[in-house]
């Protein structure tokens, strides 16, 4: 029992945390390789990112400041309850600001603000195996990774080009890590892929599939592509209607019954910080006047 009272520190018992911690160190030593681990039941449904929650639980120290985002937003039910969970069980401070955080747990986005050394980004991963959709058998995908046999993956992507004139994969776009392992970046938009070469530590937890993997800072992460069809991160052809940013990932939002639409940064903290700094988008003035 610790000072956190009725709970173990960060909820998990010490033996479970040790097992996860050992897996995390192996993951960092072999970037992009999926380390098996014995996932535990968590007091939340699988869809809520129990893999990420377990990784966060194994990493937190009481001095941490935790940010939790769900598709870029800090205020969804999922994000709020995970934040509260660690406030209660680990006694950590929480924040919505990327710059103020030391650990960020994320579902489906990388913050727009570049991470700095010492920050940790924990991803909730639903399907860790990038080869699963071409090979359902675990024994086979494991063999393919062992032999770095990724030809089928390239064939699949190229078939996409033949059929659609472009690679249609917009989320969970596969990457090659240090020229060795092909890795699933979790369902982030491919717009975020270039950010994976970063100063922060990236840790990936898949609860249902019981896999942990990791990227140390400055690891080379290359989105799979072809000489004649180079990787294109794709961005909507609009500035943010709230903050005017032209370099962020945007959500399309319906704003009235007449079908009016606006484009706004998916990263709410980034958008808020830009507006606080005086940046204005097309529709920001009306909002401020309201």
């Amino acid at each position: 029992m610790t000072q956190s009272g009725q709970y173990n520190f960060a909820y998990l018992d010490e033996q479970t945390k040790r097992m996860i911690r050992r897996a995390l160190l192996k993951g960092l030593a072999i970037p992009g390789y999926q380390v098996p681990f014995a996932s535990r039941e968590m007091p939340m449904p699988y869809g809520w990112g129990t893999g990420g929650v377990q990784v966060t639980a194994a990493c937190l120290v009481p001095e941490d400041c935790l940010k939790v985002i769900d598709q870029g937003a800090d205020d969804t039910t999922n994000a709020v309850s995970i934040r509260k969970f660690f406030q209660r069980t680990a006694g950590v401070d929480v924040t919505e600001q990327t710059t103020a955080s030391t650990v960020i747990q994320t579902r489906h986005r990388i913050p727009e603000t570049p991470l700095r050394e010492g920050q940790i980004l924990v991803y909730q991963v639903p399907i860790p195996e990038p080869l699963r959709f071409i090979e359902p058998r675990e024994t086979e995908t494991r063999k393919m990774h062992a032999l770095a046999e990724y030809g089928l993956m390239h064939v699949k992507l190229y078939e996409d080009i033949a059929r659609h004139g472009a690679i249609s994969t917009a989320y969970a776009y596969p990457v090659s890590v240090e020229g060795r392992y092909v890795m699933d970046p979790s369902p982030i938009p491919k717009f975020d892929n270039p950010k994976m070469e970063m100063a922060g530590i990236q840790l990936f937890g898949a609860g249902r599939e019981q896999r942990i993997y990791a990227l140390p800072p400055y690891t080379r992460v290359v989105s799979l592509d072809f000489e004649d069809y180079p990787f294109d991160p794709m961005r909507a052809e609009h500035p943010c209607d709230m903050c005017g940013a032209e370099d962020t990932y945007l959500d399309e939002v319906i704003i009235d019954d007449a079908g009016g639409r606006m484009f706004v940064c998916s990263d709410t903290d980034h958008c808020t910080a830009r507006r606080a700094a005086g940046h204005r988008g097309r529709l920001a003035a009306t909002e401020d006047a309201a």
């Binding site: 610790t2 000072q3 173990n8 520190f9 960060a10 010490e14 033996q15 945390k17 040790r18 097992m19 911690r21 050992r22 897996a23 995390l24 160190l25 192996k26 960092l28 030593a29 072999i30 970037p31 390789y33 380390v35 098996p36 194994a58 990493c59 937190l60 120290v61 009481p62 050394e117 010492g118 940790i120 494991r142 063999k143 990774h145 062992a146 032999l147 240090e178 060795r180 392992y181 100063a199 530590i201 990791a214 990227l215 140390p216 800072p217 400055y218 690891t219 080379r220």
Partner: protein
């Protein structure tokens, strides 16, 4: 029997001390060459504080431990048994191996994982006199451009890195400091 000595020197607040110990180890493994301070363990000699923290943070009944001759004493065995319950094994079955570099040799007696499961390898906790950011030049994941660290044997460690994704990983300990050299780090002369 050294039972009393064996019972002392563990973490005062096991969950929180282990959390701090792990964060230091995580940063060390994520940023090869970086030297991190640790605290919380007061192990029996000749174990360093840093080796003690690594053992208390990572070892338990699920992790067979090999003690190299430099560290294979009754006192060390009693201390590790009391605080972690880890079983002692020979090098070929070790999840963790502890000792000075010379005592841990030869390197090829440790598991390096399999092509399907490269994680099934030994992590060596190498006790050193001191850690310093001088000597061999390190490149690779976790390192912005280059880093430097006084490796005990750059040649043997470079040979290990050449096995990637197989190989062993090193946790380097001296006093209350820890650094790491994962198999992914490429080692150059200077």
């Amino acid at each position: 029997m050294s039972t009393i000595a064996a019972m002392k020197g563990g973490f005062n607040d096991p969950a929180v001390d282990a959390a701090h110990g792990f964060r230091a180890l995580l940063n060390a493994m994520a940023m090869p060459g970086a030297i991190n301070d640790v605290t919380g363990a007061v192990p029996v000699a000749p174990l360093s504080v840093a080796a003690g923290v690594a053992i208390l943070t990572l070892c338990d009944p699920e992790t067979p431990v090999y003690l190299a001759p430099s560290h294979d004493t009754d006192a060390v065995r009693d201390w590790i048994t009391f605080h972690t319950g880890a079983p002692f094994v020979g090098p070929s079955h070790a999840a963790f191996a502890i000792g000075t570099w010379e005592a841990l040799m030869p390197l090829d007696q440790f598991p390096i994982g399999t092509p399907e499961y490269p994680d099934r390898s030994t992590t060596l906790i190498v006790e050193m006199d001191a850690l310093a950011q001088t000597g061999a030049t390190l490149r690779g994941p976790g390192i912005r451009e280059t880093a430097q660290l006084n490796l005990p044997d750059a040649g043997a460690m470079a040979d290990n890195a050449a096995l990637f994704p197989l190989g062993v990983d090193f946790i380097l300990t001296a006093g209350a400091q820890v650094a790491a050299l994962p198999r992914s780090t490429k080692i150059g002369e200077r």
